[in-house]
């Protein structure tokens, strides 16, 4: 038993925001927080981890980790966990983390709590609250005595600590000495869709459309509104599945999690699956013709009506108000 181990990830060469959030969470749960970083040239990210509060950084280095193959990262993290026997392992709900957590749990015969929205110690035991049934219910779960307690944590639930560049962390190198046979599936290409304007993930204002818009064309109006408010456009899964917008716009349980100050939902009923991606918004504004729509249970301001009649004058008034 020795503290909390965070699965570290990078964004554009820097420690990811999710990793910084997990360090802050780890400080609440354990006496010491270590972060694992994979690959080479991690000195900068290790300093960032220290600034965000990590006590120790494991630099996991192996020739097979250089090109970031997931199977190699999982094998290396498995090896590190066996070496340091962490009490708690924290992993972000990211495309990589969602693969790492379950595979680690099966390899270590450990307990895993998926999509945690809260973690706390109760009588010295880790208890996780997690979203289930598409967000319709919350399950509170405890872990087995054996093995590390692995939690995949939803993003943007915990705030990172304020970074302090004067803080240092113990740097420990770890060489898992991987055999090339660990790589069974291989990523050969990554195709990125460049988003234009404000990134949906970081936007302070999000204007989202759903099934109620009836087709792809009304999204031009939502884009106009988003531009006026210096925000980004999002969509419900139904709108993306219908092909009206690319899935990179999808907000929800299996899409993006957004936490803007203002979330304007147009023609979105507010199924739990969608709310899981936007319930962290500070203010939700809903326009929907169904007064019983679930979105109004979560909204701060609501309009019951046909968006077609409401949206144009709303956008024009916003234009006038934001001109000055």
């Amino acid at each position: 038993m020795s503290g909390v181990l965070v699965f570290g990830e990078l964004t554009d060469g820097h420690l990811s925001g999710t990793t910084a959030e997990l360090i802050a969470l780890g400080k609440q749960l354990g006496e010491s927080v270590a972060v694992a970083l994979f690959g080479g040239n991690m000195a900068g990210a290790a300093d960032e981890a220290a600034a965000y509060g990590a006590d120790r950084v494991h630099l996991v280095e192996d020739p097979l980790l250089v090109d970031g193959q997931k199977d190699a990262i999982i094998a290396a993290f498995d090896s590190l966990c066996r070496e340091v026997s962490p009490d708690i392992v924290l992993i972000g709900k990211t495309p990589l983390g969602l693969d790492v957590g379950p595979r680690l749990a099966f390899r270590l015969h450990a307990g895993l709590a998926q999509d945690c929205v809260s973690l706390e110690m109760r009588d010295g035991k880790l208890v996780a609250t997690r979203s289930v049934y598409g967000g319709n219910a919350l399950a509170t779960v405890g872990f087995p005595e054996q093995g590390p307690r692995i939690a995949i944590v939803r993003g943007k639930v915990y705030e990172p600590l304020a970074p302090d560049a004067s803080q240092t962390a113990e740097i420990v190198k770890f060489e898992p000495k991987l055999d090339s046979s660990v790589i069974k599936a291989k990523t050969v290409q990554v195709v990125k869709r460049e988003s234009q304007g404000v990134r949906l993930d970081d936007a302070d204002v999000v204007v989202s459309g759903g099934r109620g818009l009836g087709g792809p064309d009304p999204f031009a109006q939502l884009q106009e509104l988003a531009s006026l408010l210096k925000g980004a456009v999002g969509a419900s899964r139904a709108a993306c599945d219908a092909g009206w917008l690319d899935h990179s716009y999808q907000v929800g349980l299996t899409g993006k999690t957004v936490t803007p100050n203002l979330y304007i939902a147009v023609g979105i009923s507010g199924a739990s699956q969608h709310m899981a991606g936007c319930s962290g918004a500070k203010n939700i504004v809903a326009i929907n013709k169904d007064e019983n729509a679930n979105i109004f249970k979560e909204a701060r301001y609501g309009v019951v009506g046909d968006w077609k009649g409401v949206l144009s004058s709303f956008i024009e008034t916003v234009r006038e108000l934001t001109k000055s």
Binding site: P95, A185, H247, N261, A286, G305
Partner: protein, 270 residues
């Protein structure tokens, strides 16, 4: 498991779940058993992402030819629901059914399904939905792949066969990655793949004539000790919703739009 030169053999794992479109007002939890009480008159469905996986299998069947077997595991099944993949075009249905298979956790579920897959043997490709809409664990496919030692690719939006292996487009939040794996392999499928096809009348007729193969716990030589849940469920509850919505209305719809903007400005939100 062997990958012969003969026809491609695909296994799709599916789960019967409570309909996720059940209205929230009908979504109830029995606090005594800490289980979701099925809403009266709302039949269960095949998990949505699993239908995407069936669709992925049928697309491969359409393009290169394949024999598609569907496998599910539970203590009880709604047979008309479980026959849907057959009526969509799958060839055979296998049900691992035993009273011991009630509410198994992901670790036990993967153990039983892996045992059934070993017994059936000979699949080139195993497809699963990316996660089930009840517990959203996304762990069972991983467990099957780990127990059977298979390459694993998750969240597929497109699958193609190529020179002894599979090429998968894996959906990412801002694009996709192309992943290659040799067969046999396990791939989980996401909604980005596209809508599953509807059953045809002919498919429904054909499905009606098919009898599923069933396996009990003893058929699969399951060790009961491995069916116990690993995690402890302490509580299951519907989160409180303190509705505090301020409704805006004007003289007509256009005025309502204007009033909404003015109210948001007043609240310093725009």
């Amino acid at each position: 498991m062997t990958s012969s030169g003969a026809q491609l053999k695909i296994l799709v794992c599916v789960k019967q779940v409570i309909d996720p479109e059940t209205p929230l007002s009908a979504f109830k939890i029995d606090p005594g058993t800490k289980r979701v009480a099925p809403a009266a008159g709302v039949p269960p469905v095949v998990n949505g992402f699993d239908e995407n996986a069936v669709e992925a299998a049928l697309r491969l069947k359409d393009s290169v030819g394949a024999e598609v077997t569907v496998l599910s595991m539970s203590d009880s099944f709604a047979m008309d629901v479980m026959k849907k993949p057959l009526s969509m075009g799958a060839d055979a249905l296998v049900l691992a059914q035993d009273s011991q298979f009630r509410d198994l956790d992901p670790f036990a579920s993967a153990y039983v399904l892996a045992a059934a897959i070993r017994k059936l043997d000979g699949f080139d490709l195993i497809l699963c939905g990316r996660q089930a809409s009840d517990w959203d664990n996304a762990q069972v496919p991983t467990g099957i792949a780990e127990m059977l030692g298979l390459p694993l690719v998750t969240v597929a939006q497109k699958l193609d066969l190529a020179s002894g292996g599979i090429v998968v487009e894996r959906a990412l939040p801002d694009g996709y990655e192309v992943v290659e794996a040799p067969l046999p392999a396990l791939v989980t499928v996401s909604n980005e793949l596209g809508e599953p096809r509807y059953p045809t009348l002919r498919g429904i007729m054909a499905a009606g004539k098919k009898t599923p193969t069933t396996f009990s716990a003893s058929d699969l030589e399951v060790d009961p000790a491995r069916l116990a849940p690993r995690m402890h469920l302490l509580d299951l509850a519907v989160p409180p919703r303190d509705s505090k919505c301020e409704f805006i209305s004007g003289e007509n719809e256009a005025d309502t739009g204007r009033q909404l903007a003015l109210r948001l400005r007043e609240a310093k939100l725009i």
